[in-house]
Symmetry: D2
Subunit: 327 residues, 4 copies
C-alpha cells in the first residue's frame, strides 16, 4: 500500500455513541495538520452509496467536541450488505477522489468495512465507537465511559427513592451481549447484585443474595440487569423475584436510549481525540483494514477481522469485587 | 388555638420528592431558632402510629440540604386511613408531648392530615412536597423544579440519538393526573408535541402535527407523553402512530423513578427552606390545618381542605407557547 | 404605531446569559408562526451599525435551545452611545427593511434601546437576558436560574472539601450591584453567612456569626460574597477575618465566568420561550419601547425607561430565612 | 510478616479527593467479608496520634459511595513528622489492638506511612487518593478522573462565554507540580494551548500559537494553565500576553477548590472499590509498606518508597495530540 494518502473520507455508522463527534473532529484536524483533504460522509454507508458527502474544514468541526450524537448522522445500511450496494459505494468513493476511509462504529460497521476494504483494495481504518465496549483490540470504546456515568447517575437518583421507601429496584442498562456497562454501574452504583450475559446466575442465587441482604438489615436494594441477560427482561426477572419475596415493594426502570446521548466525559473526549489522530497517522503509515485501539494506554492497531471475531470478556477480578462489596 | 407551641413533630409522607430533606432541615432549624423542640417521625404516618420518632438537633440535619429522598423515610399508611390507626397515632403524639405536626407530602398525605387535625383538634400544617405540582394553594411544590430538570436532561440526551438517527421518540414523564412536568419538559426540551391529561388531543391531531413537521424537513422528533394521559401508555400511542406513519423509526423511553431522585435544584432548596420556616412560624402564629405555599412569590396559608379539593390546571398561555414553538 | 410589522430584527447585547439562544429561537419561531420575516443581527448593536445581519429560518435555530451563550454573539458597543453610531444603525435598519427590533440584554442594552426607539420612532421591545436578575418589570431574568444552579453546584463541591478539612471558605459569586445570586446561593448552598451589596453588614457582625457557629461545633463554613459588595473583595474580607480568627484555615474561591455559561435550566428555557413569543406578539399588538417580563407568572409589558430606572431589591423575607437557617 | 491480620485501621490523609469515601467503604466491606475488624481513624495521622478512632460496620459506610470528600475527615499533621508524634501514634495503634494500617492519600501521606511502617515494623498499605495523578505505581489515582471532568465542565461553560464575546480566557487548573489535569482538560476542553510544568514552553511560543489561531479566524480561545507552571500564575501570564496582543479581550478564571469536590465519577468509584479490596487482600497476603495501584488495568503492589520517589511524567503522545488538535 504505497499510494500516498491525499484525500480521506470519514463516516459514523451503527448506534451512535457520545464522543463520535470528538473523533470526527480529531480526524478532520489531523488531516488538515498533515495536509490531507477530508470529506464527511453523511448517514454512514448509506451516504457512501449515494455520494452524500462534502469537504470538511477546521471550522466545520468547531464547537462539536462537547456534543453527543454525531453531526455526520448515522444509520444502518442494508444495501451495503449487498455486493451491488458496495459497488455503488466504491464508485462514489473513486468519483470523489478518496484514497482511504475512516469508519467510526461498532462490530457490525466493521464487518462491512472489512469486506469493502478487501473487495476493492481500499485502505480502511476503524475507530471503535460504541457504548457497549464489546470490541477486542481496545481497552475502551468511545462512549463507554459516558454511558457508564449516565447509567450510574440515574442509579444514584433511583437509590434516593429506593432508600426513602425501602424498595427493591431492578434497573435495566444497555450493553447488548456484553455486561460492561452493567458491571461498572453495579460497582459504581453500589448495587446488591447484577445479572449479566457472561455469568450464569440463577434466579435462586439472586433470591438468596436478597434474603441475605434483608437479614443484614439492608433496607433498600438496587439490582442491575444487563439488557442481553439470559434470565429474561428486567420485568420478567422482577416478576419471578416477586413470587418468592412478596414482602418487597419492587419497581423496574429501563434506562433506555438516554444512555446513548449526552456530552461526552473527559475520558471519552481524550480517547476519541487520540484515536482520531492515530487513525489518520495509521493511514499515512500504510496501515489498512485495521482498527485503532488503546491497549494498556498505548495506541495499537489490530486487524479488523480479529477485533470483531474475538469476544471481549468481563474481568473476573471485577466480578469478585462486585460480590465482596455487595454484602 | 391559644396553646403555646413547645414541641413539634415533622414527618414526610407519600412519594418522595427532591427537597424534602431541605424542608425538614428548615423546620428543624426554625424550631431551634424559636426555642421549640422538634421530633423527627420516621416512615410517615406509620411512624406516628408506632411511636417511631426521636428528637432532632441542628447537627441532625447537617449535610442533608443537598440530598435527594428523605432521611425520615416515607411510606403510604393504610392504617392511618382507619379511625383506629389515627387514634394510636394520637396517643403517641400525646405521649411524646407533641403540640403540633408538620406534614411534608402531597394530596393523599394532606387528606389524612386534615382528618387527623379535626378529629383530635391538633394543630397541623402541610408543606407541599411532590414532583407533580398538582396542589392548589401554591405556585410550585417542592421537587417539581428538580423533576422538570431531570426529565429535560434526559430528553436532551435522547435528542442526541434522535437527531443522529432521524428517529421519532416518545418519552413518558411522570405527573400522575397533571401535565405540569410534561408541559415544562416539552417546552424546555423542544418537543414537537406533548400529550397531557388536561388537553383533549387525539391520535389524529398528533399524526397531523408529525406529518407537518416531516414536511418542514424536521428530521427528528421527540413527543412527550404524560403518564396519566387519556390516550393510553406511551407504548400504545407509539404503536398507533406507527400504524399510520410506518416510515418513522420509532422508539419509546419511560423515564420512571429517576425523576423522583437527585440533588434538589437551587429553586427547590430555596422553596423548601422558605416553606419550612413558614410552617413553624405559622404554627407559632396560631395557624392550623392549613398548607403553606408560595403564591406570586409570597408565603400564603391555604386551608388544607381547599388545597386538595381544587385541581390546579395547566396554564393556557403555556399551551399556546408550546404549540407556536413546535413548528 | 399602526404600521403592520412585517420584518423584525433580533440581537443579543451585553454580557451573555444562558437562555439567550432559547429566546432568539422563540422570537424566530413566533415570527414564522405569524408570517413575519426575521433577521438575526450579529454582535449586538455593533452588527446593527455595520449591517452585519441575515435572515433566519426555522432550521437556523435548530439545536440551539440547549446551548449556553448566544449564537448571534454579543458585544458592548461604544459607538451606539453616540448619535452618529445610532444614525448608522438606523440606516442599516431601514436599508434592510426592518419594521421593529427585539433587544435581548440587560440594563445597559436597554438604555441604548430606549434612546434608539425614541430618536427614530422605531418599535423596540426588550427581553431581559442577564444572570444578575437586577431588572424591575420581571420576577426573573433569563439566565438567573441557571447561574444560581451553577454557583450552588460549585458550592456543593467546595463544601465537600470544607467539611473534610474543617475549613472556612469564602466563595465569591457574580451579580454586579445586586445580591440575588448571592442570596439564592447562600440559602441553596447552606452558607453560614452572605455579604451582599443591599445589606449593610460589617466585618464585626460576620466575625460574631462565625464565632457563634464555632461555639455550636459547626466545623466547616462557607461564606458567600457578592462581587459588588461594599466590604471589599472576597480576598480582602478573608484577610480581615483571618486577623481576628486566626485559628480558621481559610480559603477563597472566585467562581468567575463559569457562572455565565452552561446549558440553561428548564426554568430559563421556558422563561425565554415565553418571553420570546410575547415579544413578537407585543410588537404585533402595537407595543413599543417596553420590556417584556413575567410578573406573578403572567406576561407583563413595562416601559423600558421604568424597568431600568427602578432598582429591584432583595426580598426581606428571604434575608430572614437565610439568617434563621444559618444557625 | 506471618502475623495473621485480625484488625485493620484505615485513615484518609492530605488533600481530599473524590472517591476517598468509596475507598474507605471498600476497605470496610472487604474486612467484614474476610472476617477482619476495621477501625476508622479520624483526621488522618492526627487521629492516630490522639486515638481518635472507632469501629466501623457495614452500615457505617452505607450511602457514602456517592459522596465527595471524606467522612473520616483529613488533615495534614506536623506532629506525625516528629519521632515523638509517631511514637504516640504507635501507642494508640497497639492500644486499640490494630494489626495493620491502610493509608489513603498522596505522596506526603505515604512518606509518613513509609517511615512509620519501618520504624515500628507495622504492616502498612497505601491507596493513592489524590486528584493530581502524580504517583508512580498506578496509572490513575483516585479522584483524578472526577477532577478532570469537573475542570472540563467548567471549561465548557467558560467556552460559551468566550465564544459569545470572542474572548481569550486563561483557565487555571490544579495539579501541583504535575500537568495531568491540565493536559486532559486541554484536550477534553478543546483548548488552543496549555502551559504545564513538564514542558518548557515560553510566552513567545504561546503568543505565536495565539497569533496563528487568530489568522485562522479562531475567534475565541481558551488557554489552560497548570497551577504549578513555570511561567508564573495565570494572572501573570495573561498580563504578559496582553502586552503584546492588546487587541484580545482577556479574562482569567482560577477554578480552585471546586476541583476537589463533587460526587465521584463511575471510573473513580470502580477504581476506589478495586483498590480498597486489594489493600485488604494485600495485607492478608503479607504485603507491607506497599502502595496498591492499577497498572495496565491489573492490580499491582509497588513499594511505597519507589512510588513516591519516581516522578510520573506526562505522556509525549498526548502532548502531540493536544498540539495537532489545537490548530
Amino acid at each position: 500500500m504505497t499510494t500516498e494518502i491525499k484525500k480521506i473520507g470519514v463516516l459514523t455508522s451503527g448506534g451512535d455513541a457520545p464522543g463520535m463527534n470528538a473523533a470526527v473532529r480529531a480526524v478532520v484536524r489531523a488531516c488538515i495538520y498533515y495536509d490531507i483533504e477530508v470529506f464527511g460522509i453523511y448517514k454512514g454507508y448509506d451516504g457512501l452509496i449515494k455520494g452524500n458527502m462534502e469537504q470538511l474544514y477546521v471550522r466545520s468541526v468547531s464547537n462539536i467536541l462537547s456534543r453527543g450524537g454525531t453531526f455526520l448522522l448515522s444509520a444502518r445500511s442494508k444495501e451495503f450488505r449487498t455486493k451491488e450496494g458496495r459497488k455503488q459505494a466504491y464508485e462514489h468513493f473513486k468519483a470523489n477522489g478518496l484514497d482511504a476511509l475512516v469508519v467510526i462504529g461498532g462490530d457490525g460497521s466493521f464487518t462491512g468495512a472489512d469486506i469493502f476494504s478487501q473487495e476493492f483494495n481500499v485502505p480502511v481504518i476503524g475507530i471503535p465507537g460504541t457504548i457497549d465496549n464489546d470490541l477486542s483490540g481496545t481497552d475502551f470504546t468511545i462512549g463507554f465511559d459516558t454511558a457508564c456515568n449516565t447509567a450510574r447517575e440515574a442509579i444514584d437518583k433511583i437509590r434516593d427513592t429506593a432508600s426513602s421507601h425501602e424498595r427493591l429496584f431492578f434497573v435495566e442498562v444497555m450493553g447488548r451481549d456484553a455486561g460492561f456497562i452493567a458491571l461498572n454501574s453495579a460497582i459504581g452504583g453500589g448495587a446488591v447484585a447484577m445479572i449479566v450475559p457472561e455469568h450464569n446466575w440463577s434466579i435462586e442465587a439472586l433470591i438468596n443474595r436478597l434474603r441475605k441482604g434483608a437479614a443484614n438489615q439492608k433496607a433498600s436494594n438496587v439490582v442491575i440487569v444487563a439488557e442481553g441477560c439470559h434470565l429474561g427482561s428486567s420485568y420478567e426477572i422482577a416478576a419471578k423475584v416477586k413470587e418468592q419475596l412478596d414482602y418487597f415493594d419492587i419497581r423496574v426502570t429501563v434506562l433506555g436510549h438516554l444512555q446513548r446521548g449526552g456530552t461526552p466525559t473527559t475520558l471519552d473526549r481524550v480517547l476519541a481525540s487520540r484515536m482520531g489522530v492515530a487513525a489518520v497517522e495509521g493511514l499515512r503509515n500504510g496501515q489498512s483494514n485495521v482498527m485503532v485501539g488503546i491497549i494498556n494506554n498505548r495506541i495499537a492497531y489490530t486487524p479488523i477481522g480479529e477485533a470483531i471475531k474475538t469476544i471481549k470478556r468481563l474481568d473476573d477480578e471485577e466480578f469478585r469485587i462486585a460480590k465482596i462489596l455487595s454484602i
